[in-house]
């Protein structure tokens, strides 16, 4: 202690020295800045990407990722600049279907650059960030939300004509977050298969779209019919045992070639659902085992057989979607 009789008052005594913000404050400031930048970036992305299409289904296993990649490739075939955002965080499989298995994302200047798959389609997926295919992603809602916002706001998509967004099945956090973060979404494509269970869940998806105020572009019926081609005696009648032992007959042509469509999972359910809810029916996609092989090999059916039956079915669905987008464009909000 000092012996001096004079006490000097130091107003800063006991107060922290003016050394700028603490490490915790600095981190908070950085996070707030990053969040603000991301919000601005999401608005900018909205302007750079002309059309944003969400692909959903109420039920799993209906071929949503196959449809998403098919739509993206079909649009790219038309000469459009296309991207796919794989929002299925816990089960991402778009990269495998696009021949990008094992690829990593390029990060430069704090921006994530998408990988480029077949026909120049840009792809962003959680799969690129996993160390191996067997690593599960176990995240609670808020973490998923942050990752999705990062996938939207921090990705350098460049100018795109179409962004196709592939979701996990159901009506949960993921589509809700995207609908609230990305401006001017053109609408949702609901994928279904003809079974009653899938259709029941598709109806939920339509209700979900209405509650989010995102237009339903329409319903696509996937795995709609399996075409069997064969050879028999010329002009003969061929009988095939269909599902439930039901006999399907067809006529072979002059050369003995025949072709018959077997409706493995019933038929027309997608169209009925669309009519029931007064939403457009976009068409049916065939049950094509080539999709499974193509998906596993990383060469999509549209790439391996661009003039094939499935590629044509996809181009018809794409045309129906474009018609819907054109209709919604003419009635969009004008802000001046």
């Amino acid at each position: 202690m000092s012996d001096s009789p004079v006490s000097v008052h130091n107003p800063n005594e006991g107060q922290p020295q003016d050394e700028g913000p603490s490490a915790a404050q600095q981190k908070q400031m950085e996070q707030a800045y990053a969040q603000m930048k991301r919000k601005m970036s999401m608005q900018e992305i909205g302007k750079k990407i002309k059309h944003k299409i969400m692909v959903l289904s109420g039920k799993g296993g209906v071929g949503k990722s196959t449809v998403s990649t098919g739509l993206a490739l079909s649009l790219a075939q038309q000469g459009h600049k296309v991207g796919i955002l794989d929002i299925d965080i816990t089960g991402p499989n778009v990269p495998k279907m696009m021949g990008l298995d094992g690829k990593r994302l390029h990060v430069e200047g704090g921006r994530i650059h998408p990988a480029q798959g077949h026909l120049g389609v840009k792809v962003i997926s959680m799969a690129f960030l996993l160390d191996d295919d067997d690593t599960p992603v176990v995240w609670r809602g808020p973490i998923k939300l942050g990752a999705i916002q990062q996938f939207i706001g921090d990705v350098e998509w460049g100018n795109l004509d179409y962004l196709v967004i592939d979701f996990p099945p159901g009506t949960s956090d993921e589509p809700l977050t995207v609908a609230q973060s990305l401006p001017d979404i053109d609408g949702m494509v609901i994928v279904t298969t003809p079974q009653d269970v899938a259709l029941m869940d598709s109806r939920k998806s339509i209700g979900f779209a209405e509650s989010l105020k995102v237009p339903v572009l329409g319903v696509v019926e996937n795995m709609s019919g399996y075409t069997i081609n064969g050879k028999s005696a010329p002009n003969s009648t061929v009988e095939i045992a269909g599902p439930g032992g039901k006999s399907i007959s067809t006529q072979a042509d002059d050369e003995g070639n025949f072709s018959v469509v077997v409706d493995i999972f019933k038929k027309g359910g997608g169209k009925n659902t669309a009519e029931e809810f007064s939403v457009p029916y976009l068409g049916a996609l065939p049950f094509d085992p080539g999709f499974v092989r193509g998906g596993d090999d990383g060469v999509h059916r549209i790439v391996s057989e661009p003039e094939g039956h499935s590629a044509k079915a996809f181009s018809e669905v794409v045309a129906a979607i474009q018609e819907q987008i054109g209709a919604s464009e003419s009635s969009s909000l004008e802000i001046i």
């Binding site: 609908a179 001017d184 995102v214 004008e334 802000i335």
Partner: protein, 118 residues
Amino acid sequence: MAEIMPKLTRLERRKSDLLLTYESGDELSVEYVDLRHACPCAKCAPNRNEDQTSIDLRESVEKLANKKPKVVTIGNYALSFEWEDQGCSSGIYRFERIWALANNKDPDNGKPYVHGPW
């Protein structure tokens, strides 16, 4: 029976209000001050629960510059307004809310704001 809201097709930012044109042909306006007083964010909304705090909120927004805001679309269901001044820009206005304000109706339907899960 619930009233069906027509689609908003045009929004013009004028000096002190928004001019809204609906698909039905309705042309309505909302003063910036009314819009800001009706901010649905969790910070502003509780202030409208009591008469006095609602008056205070209104006085506070009246003191602001209330210049043309930047309009941001939120999905296809709502708009948000970014104001140049220090006032609140957090609110997400569903189209139903804007329609209610334009028709001089209480956008909260007389319900007080309650924090927490609904």
